[in-house]
Symmetry: C2
Subunit: 469 residues, 2 copies
């Protein structure tokens, strides 16, 4: 004990004063978990107390578990990670199977690993000729395209082309209602910043693309989910959730749903929009799989006329994931605020990427490529479906198009266990519960058929299922 128990400003002893000062810094996060505390000597000077007072205060804080000492290296703040650490264990194979598990595993592994769980096509399935031609064109083109920031809305001819393409899906939009972004993910991120405040409620499908969970957690949103049926979200439950939870926002895919491959039916689209209208709900329609479609499905943005629906897309699935470019199509009176937010948070999206995407989409070979890709995907989906069924893994539905098969494992199996077992064999899978807020997809798994052609995948699946059953 410090003999000089003079009352500090807070009314306690000097030691308690030092403890309170440190606790306060931890509480206000000016000392983050993991951070080193000021040295005893410097903090004694700061607090105008003796070194021994600080030593005793630090020891007590260590005893109560607030800080811990590392021999010879001072004291460090213990405690939970900062709220915005979305997980604790990175991509290590013992990491919990959380919403970031698949992303980290599939992005970090080498080319020798098989990735039926990942969400993109192998590079050889992408339009090589169009991309290489676009690169060569830009290499000898105007230096401004290679060197300058883009305009805040993004490359005008690409926005014009996008407006025409959206028109083909029944979405009437002017190029000045289209804002280019770095990616589809960044488009949703920007919209969340624009529309949400911490604690707002956001509705997602159950199951839905796992990164929606991670992104919304980063925005400190309160996430609720609605069960997804083969024709869209369950409309009755959707209505009940709007009434009970009053979500600010609903994020969904309409054309080809991730992970189920389902397609929204016109009647579901219509009912959903009526409910949204009555409840004042804003909807983000993520349409990044649009180019996989054979027969166009209904778009919420087309029915709604971009009033309460915001339409986003990107080119990472059918053109290139290396060339980052996405877009937002939204009501006119929101564009300016979105541009300000984009300039503040990323200054400008990549003009080079936009030029490349524009050249590649214009390239005559792109449409031929996409047509061939659809045929190849349909054929591969049928083959992979047959092989999966042969080992007892049954598709929930037969998607009209796209690359995903959402499948049910044989009874008694946990998809996360199977995924962990197969990861040890160098195979990254996508277990169902990372897509499910309610954790009700424990027996499901998403397969990317374009990444599921290697026979080793089915061998490893069968072996691990046999072992786990």
């Amino acid at each position: 004990m410090d003999g000089l128990s003079v009352a500090s400003a807070g009314g306690g002893t000097r030691i308690e004063g030092v403890m309170a000062a440190i606790s306060d810094r931890i509480a206000t996060r000016s000392l983050m978990p993991g951070a080193r505390l000021p040295s005893v000597r410097s903090f004694a000077k700061t607090m105008q107390v003796s070194v021994s007072t600080v030593v005793e205060a630090y020891e007590r804080l260590a005893a109560e578990g607030t800080i811990r000492s590392r021999p010879g290296a001072g004291f460090y703040v213990c405690g939970p990670l900062p709220p915005l650490s979305l997980s604790e264990t990175g991509a290590r194979s013992d990491r919990n199977v959380d919403p970031l598990w698949i992303s980290r595993q599939s992005l970090e592994v080498g080319d020798d690993v098989l990735k039926p769980g990942c969400g993109w096509l192998p590079p050889s399935w992408l339009p090589q000729a169009a991309l290489r031609r676009a690169m060569r064109t830009l290499a000898r083109g105007d230096m401004a395209a290679l060197a300058n920031y883009g305009t805040p809305l993004g490359l005008p001819p690409l926005r014009q082309l996008l407006a025409r393409r959206l028109g083909e899906h029944g979405i009437t939009v002017s190029p000045d209602q289209i804002l280019l972004t770095e990616s589809g993910t960044q488009a949703i991120d920007l919209l969340c910043r624009f529309l949400l405040e911490p604690g707002n409620t956001v509705l997602v499908d159950d199951p839905c693309y796992f990164n929606f969970h991670a992104l919304l957690r980063a925005h400190r949103a309160n996430v609720v989910s609605v069960p997804f049926t083969p024709t869209g979200p369950d409309v009755e439950l959707f209505g009940q959730i709007l009434e009970r939870h009053k979500p600010r926002l609903y994020i969904t895919n309409s054309a080809i749903h991730n992970p189920t491959g389902a397609t929204l039916s016109p009647v579901t689209a219509h009912r959903l929009l009526k409910l949204a209208d009555a409840a004042g709900l804003t909807i983000i329609e993520d349409d990044i799989f649009a180019d996989f479609e054979d027969v166009p499905a209904p778009r919420l943005a087309a029915y709604d006329g971009l009033d309460r629906v915001i339409h986003i897309g990107s080119f990472s699935k059918t053109l290139s994931a290396s060339v980052r470019c996405g877009f937002i199509a939204a009501r006119r009176d929101w564009i300016d605020g979105l541009v300000d937010l984009k300039v503040a948070s990323s200054f400008s999206c990549g003009q080079l990427s936009a030029e490349l995407v524009h050249l590649a989409l214009k390239d005559g070979s792109y449409r031929r490529h996409v047509e061939a890709l659809r045929v190849r995907l349909a054929k591969t989906m049928a083959e992979v479906s047959t092989r999966l069924e042969a080992i007892g893994i049954v598709p929930w539905l037969k998607p009209r198009a796209g690359m995903f098969l959402w499948c049910r494992l044989p009874e008694g199996l946990d998809a996360a266990d199977v995924a962990r077992a197969c990861l040890a064999e160098g195979i990254v899978l996508a277990p169902g519960n990372v897509f499910s807020l309610s954790d009700t997809a424990g027996r499901f798994m998403r397969f990317n058929v374009a990444q599921s052609t290697d026979p080793r995948i089915f061998q490893a699946l069968e072996a691990s299922m046999r072992k786990l059953r």
Copy 2:
């Protein structure tokens, strides 16, 4: 008045019930400012009241100014824009001169406009040969580079090269402590997400890069500023501010300060870090002008050993602003949380951009280009300085390097007035107060010397100053 004044759930009449339901939706932002209210008919059905009740409720809400009617188009929510609209008037020339003013003006104008106020070099000043060569190399290279997502940390050889370059500035860092981002701005944005909660206090220099203000506003931070001197922030005031405001974070440039062109002195760096250490302050050191330096200035990250200093950079100033790529160098135990946040909010940064930057930086011509650029900038700075002084605009200091001159206008002039007058002549300037949180730089202006070679700039400046005095 509704004759059926039956008590609603809230205790008022039915009309009041409808009014309360709408007000509640506005308060919870499920109806955003500018949004259209549900139609009278549909909302009558939702609330199970008569159409006339809803009509009367809407009329009263309109009368009290909560909503307004647009003839033939229904009712709309009035009121302030959503908090995250950072401004109200876009890039129109009557827009208030706010922190986004210069960005929006300079990014939106055509090539015919002169931009002494912008923050980048003309494309012809950038390393054309290295960029074109890198594009050609990639055009015929591995398809994976053109098509795949990058790894979560970003291209390994670029991170290795950056670790070596940082080593040359005395910053010892391993490549796995470096995280590639889309840009320098996105690097700071990611760090703000990681480190800040809404309402946290952040310290910036006064003056500082205006986009720090916009970005921090987007993070709902409480921003305070410390006066900047020719050798860095005023250390005495810095200490007082730490004590009074307990900021969580300090964001600064160390090598070449934007907008002043000043260089941090070793003694200021040392004192500043001692204060930061005692207060548990985290520092983001934005070093995007590093390659302009002739004689290396002290880096906070070098003195501190990346303990509480996070070092960020990009290539938009010396290589290309069209190829988006930045980086974060930080303590090892923060990298994994930052990667999760990056995956959640942008999934992956552009592999193509990283490959381009890597090839261009490796290109033998890059170093020669940078050396020539420094000479050209120094020469241009001397010339522009002379021309400005001739019309009474005096540099605050003579920067050691870089492209910025921070200048004082003759007494009695407001830089925002001069900027507005010159904008009408097709010249975008950078008036001082957009850099100054305390609004004490009303007589200052930042000139980018590389964009200030056209004689029309000095003519327009002189004419507008004469008119305004």
